[in-house]
Amino acid sequence: MFYREAGDFSTTYAEDQQTFPIKFDRYRYYVVLFIAIVVVPFVINDYWANSLLLPFLIYAIAAIGLNILVGYCGQVSLGTGGFMAVGAYACYKFMTGVDIWWGGELLFRLPEFNIFFSVIMGGVMTALVGVLFGLPSLRIKGFYLAVATLAAQFFLVWLFNRVSWFYNYSASGQINAPERDLFGVLITGPSTEPWATYLFCLFFTIVCAVVARNLTRGASGRKWMAIRDMDIAAEIIGVNPLRAKLTAFAVSSFFVGISGALFFAVYLGAVEVGEAFGITKSFLVLFMIIIGGLGSIFGSFAGAAFLVLLPVVLKVVGVDWLGWPTDIVAHLQLVIVGGLIVMFLILEPHGLAQLWRVAKEKLRLWPFPH
């Protein structure tokens, strides 16, 4: 009734294969895009940008990336935090000009990259590192691989902590994003405008989502899903398992790296690696895609939104309204998140995305029960 697809026929394969084959979906998508691009920048303020919209957009990219690896290709990774750190540190190095040393002498120094390209380089470097740590995936499967990715997590965090080249030998061991602009508009640094940072992140989020969608509905996506569903059969029908897994690692890490770069440069501004990109971050992003829905781009958004909103809501309700101490609210949050994960896995392993699909089916028939 409210949601209709009747009378909506595809006459070509191109029409049938588009992202939103149903007109109603397509229009809704345009409306959301319109609001996000045209309306929000005029009404946004610091609070909205920093506590909700920026983290949502950035985590959504990370969740899409991890979802490609876990949800589409079936390779569980617990190294997301470490890969985000690679993105952040690569972005930092390219922002400030990469210095190459040989035998104790400065060989040369790359010019400082524009912030836009620094972020991209963050993604590229992470993709390389991701492929490196993805190599064992040909021989290691399931939990073994999940634990092996922990090696990436702990090693990378240690690396960025110990090797001073990565943080430009600063005394604090932190990295701080210097002021950088795009077309004269400040994107990083302390005096940015919320609409500018928002639009910058939004651009990356939209592009990542579109790319992810294109990849997953095409040949690459089928290869990944074939590997996920039955790797032996996939190999026998002609999928090169190493190539398929490594492309999944590369694409996934690219997205995760972009999100790490944005997280550091645009959102936080200053980062201490163990704190910002520790193992808890890996789990946070993993939880987003479990709650949102494995193997669903929409689910990545839904999960990111949910887990960004939850602490904010809990804080407003628990601390501001009820006046509870913050640590109790934080513990309560652990209980709720853990409980939700278990609940979702039991009741709806396909997450919020599946709930949405079911709701659509119900809406289509409403008000008739069948």
């Binding site: 073994y144 090797v163 101490p325 652990l334 853990g338 409980g339 994960i341 278990v342």
Partner: protein, 335 residues
Amino acid sequence: MPEQLAFTIEVFLNGLMAGVLYALVALGFVLIYKASGIFNYAQGVMALFAAMTLVGIQNGQVPFSHLINAIFGTEIHHFGWHVHSVLAIAFTVVVMIILAWAVQRFVFRHLVGQEPIILFMATIGLAYFLEGVADLMWGSEIKALDVCMSEGNCLPQGMNGWIDQTTFDVFGYGFFIDNLDIVASIVAALLVAGLVMFAQYTKQGRAMRAVADDHQAALSVGVSLNFIWILVWSLAGFVALVAGIMWGAKSGVQFSLSLIALKALPVLMLGGFTSIPGAIVGGLIIGVGEKLFEFLIGAPFLGGATENWFAYMLALLFLVFRPQGLFGEKIIERV
């Protein structure tokens, strides 16, 4: 005996002791994995939970006191009594058994037949849940755990001094080994022996092994899967308690306990997920390996703190060459 060598040997021995503790946590993983195919990520948090519960009971803390105070504006914290260690341990065991039952009843009973990776992720959720509950119940501040060292006198106090003296007399260099480590090793050995005896010679133990071998077959000869699963979760809870006591006594009961327990994962990757001897040998290798690596290479050349990742890297490299672990069976793939 040259200094350097003596130091190295001492580091080696300390590594062995740390390895015993890793092995203890890994043992809990193996128990559950064998019987139910669940890779229990929450094992580390169970150790934390058990240790916190033990301290809480010992000190007569009121459970959930912070939460109660926040909701009702009361000011309660303690019952005002102290419970003797032995009694407190008994109580904690009961709590762990209840926990095992609850986990089975409310979580895994609904997940029977799901893919292993889903079960794994469920245990990650469980880990968060338990950690939150433990913090809410007992508060998240670091607590000192004192079971054996001062009150129980379960070990001659001068033991490490004696070792120091004897080795000094023999080698001309006194080895220092922590009292606690000696206790931990003895307890771990007893625990393993006990578990093996249990598995070999009791009816429940045999049923447990039957389930580990083949669920269907075990069901068909009248073994109650539900009972066995609660049993192994309880056993794993007990092992977690022992591990929690050891770690807790060493470095205080705090959140990092559950992270240290993460190290049990590479131990398992070395030892294979289904092998009890594998868990022990793997634990020792990791314990010794990371201490020696830090001492010989990490601290002098790499800037230290290599213990954070050494275990994982070792396991990763090892797995690339032998995916089934040290003692795991070779996997033959079929279509």
